[in-house]
């Protein structure tokens, strides 16, 4: 077993709120420079920039990518839906497209949504309303992702907007979430009692700017940096484990 550093939530320029500097090429470079072993690309309700990241990583040794999207469910809960390869993520993105609201993106208000290639060339401007909510209930997203071999992680569960707890009040029965993501200031101890014990916590940067990539990470104990191992680590199988430090606590204790 080895330890791997993972940032499982990074947005690219395709997210309406993502900085235009966040091309897949620069995300991959930033990940390597900061010593990350694993990054996951999770744009809002789309996976269209995943093929570019996959192509870039062929030239960036030592960094493994997971591919997916941060889906807004019908309840307006944000969940990260991750897959092991860009093709599966892309197909899932096409599935999402049919469940987005009919409005078009207003670039003046939400920002441009460029789909780019590995060389930072704009292939097209996505005009779907990615900032909106899908019409897919949480259960449906959960089932769909698992049927496609992915994992589902509830985003920033401690936040007062778009989180599992802000929208639903408490943990919903019968849903098979693979992990819960905590914001930097959240203390795991404050949330442990509200989440089933078998569901691990992770931390991620939720980076919308290059400077933020890797700012919050999760340490994964597993055999190799593959998606299958990641899934087994989240399930804490056979000695695999997920470590997620209370960053705010560490910072305060250093003073």
């Amino acid at each position: 077993m080895k330890l791997f550093t993972a940032d499982v939530q990074v947005h690219s320029c395709l997210s309406p709120c993502g900085s235009l500097e966040c091309s897949p090429a620069r995300i991959a470079r930033a990940a390597r420079e900061r010593g990350l072993d694993i990054i996951a690309l999770t744009d809002h309700n789309t996976a269209a920039n995943c093929p570019a990241l996959a192509a870039v990583l062929a030239d960036v040794p030592g960094v493994t990518a997971f591919f997916g999207a941060e889906v807004t469910t019908a309840e307006e809960i944000h969940v990260m839906c991750l897959f092991g390869d860009a093709e599966t993520a892309l197909a899932f993105g096409e599935f999402l497209r049919a469940h987005l609201p009919p409005q078009r993106n207003d670039p003046g208000f939400f920002g441009d949504q460029p789909v780019v290639d590995a060389h930072e060339q704009i292939l097209r401007l996505e005009d779907a309303f990615l900032a909106g909510a899908t019409d897919l209930p949480l259960d449906r997203v959960d089932d769909e992702v698992h049927a496609r071999g992915g994992v589902v992680i509830a985003s920033h569960i401690d936040r007062p907007v778009n989180s599992l707890f802000s929208q639903l009040g408490f943990w919903p029965g019968g849903v098979a979430l693979d992990a819960c993501d905590l914001s930097p200031r959240a203390r795991a101890a404050d949330w442990r009692g509200r989440v089933p014990l078998h569901v691990p916590f992770v931390r991620s940067s939720d980076a919308h700017f290059l400077a933020d990539i890797g700012r919050q990470c999760t340490t994964l104990q597993m055999c190799e940096p593959t998606f299958d191992e990641f899934r087994r680590a989240l399930a804490q199988q056979d000695g695999r484990a997920v470590f997620c430090a209370d960053v705010a606590r560490l910072l305060s204790s250093s003073h």
Binding site: P137, F165, S166, Q167, L168, G169, F170, P172
Partner: protein, 122 residues
Amino acid sequence: MFVNLGNAQMKLSTIVNELQLTPLVELCDQEVTSAYASDLLSDVVGNAQAGTLLITIQVHRNVVAVASLVGLSAVVIVHGRRPEDDVLAAARENHINLLSAPCTAFTLAGRLYHLGVRAPGE
């Protein structure tokens, strides 16, 4: 002249008849002590009280759990949204008065206010 001296208690059956709400499960009549409109269940847990009628477009089955936890007198799903069958089953099992109304939350709240129902604590 009609002078409202505070939150009028009212039977759910009276409200159902006056506002022509559609029961989604068999109703168990009780007093409606107040009404609250919200789609965030964390907010409902924090601000509704026992006897409150909830106006919402939230159709996740946790709405039934919150109704049970808080002791809501009824949950009215507005604007024509339809809960899934498992939500209806949970409402039946937990004896939660689940209803629907085709109008918006705004309109239903206005009609309830006109009947004399007020927010919790008002």
